[in-house]
Symmetry: C2
Subunit: 160 residues, 2 copies
DNA sequence: AATGAAATGAGAGCGCG
DNA sequence: CGCGCTCTCATTTCATT
């Protein structure tokens, strides 16, 4: 055996690099994890097939492409409506809206949390009319307008 | 013969592609927007310099790397504490925490909205002790545990 | 079974017209 | 902006452990 410790999560180190900058050459990643470029590539390929790596994307600044407003919305649906079918329908409806950047089905004082990106407050108001006021199953929603995107990203903590 | 270019927002079309898959060859993007590969490259380079494109990243599935729990947290700070300095300190503190994937400073019934990614509820409880109970400026926080990541991403709507 | 070294090929990066 | 080149990097092959 070699003297270098297995340091088990080599793939995690690769992920850690890629989720910061996926244009990093395999050669460079290999140097960091003591592996050759082809070995690194094999790991990446496997993780893409296993959908550990779900996508490779560019992060766009919304403000610079005419979509300066980010809003969080908590959505509460009618208790009587909380059948599996209606929840699934709501999931599909929210997910299909381009302005809905993120949608989570949650426990707690709300049922859904949405992250909405829009160009203007008017556009948001129009969206609320369509999605919430126009949906009898929506009991209430709370709006939180972002004043500062303090930290943005999809990076998963990969220390341990 | 070439078709005339479709109006203005060619760069938006490029962005639209890249935020879906930034491994798309410039050649392919060029075909879609009726531009040569070098022209596409120049646009990408300009947008990276202008930070319209802020980063190129791999999306990792948290559940497959031992971080299956996503939580939304609304944080409310003491009214008396809402000085610019204390708000900025809070921003820096939250942003520095690896488990805090996203942090927004917001208007409405809360001051901050956090997206937290953790391996276990125990880890979340530990984090709350450190970040919230251990901070006298935090008046209250509400927790929303995600049961389903219905839609995830950073894609900005780029239709209009 | 996974790796590394070398060969191949595709794509990015630049200068030119 | 498009066309060409060059060069880096991704990808494949193959021998090795």
């Amino acid at each position: 055996m070699t003297m270098s410790a297995p340091a088990a999560p080599t793939s995690r180190q690769v992920d850690s690099t890629l989720q910061r900058d996926n244009t990093t050459p395999q050669r460079v990643i290999g140097e960091a994890v003591n592996l050759s470029a082809p070995a690194v590539q094999r790991r990446i390929r496997r993780m893409e097939e296993a959908e550990v790596i779900q996508a490779n994307v560019a992060m766009i600044d919304p403000a610079q492409v005419g979509q300066p407003i980010t809003i969080f919305v908590e959505v509460e649906v009618e208790v009587i409506s909380e059948t599996a079918e209606l929840i699934d329908a709501a999931k599909r409806e929210f997910a299909a809206v381009p302005e809905v950047q993120q949608c989570y089905y949650v426990t707690g004082e709300a049922d859904f949390v949405l992250v909405v990106v829009v160009p203007t407050m008017t556009a948001y108001e129009t969206l609320t009319r369509r999605l919430f006021f126009g949906n009898n199953n929506v009991k209430r929603f709370r709006t939180f307008v972002s004043m500062d995107r303090v930290k943005v990203g999809l990076a998963v903590p990969l220390s341990g």
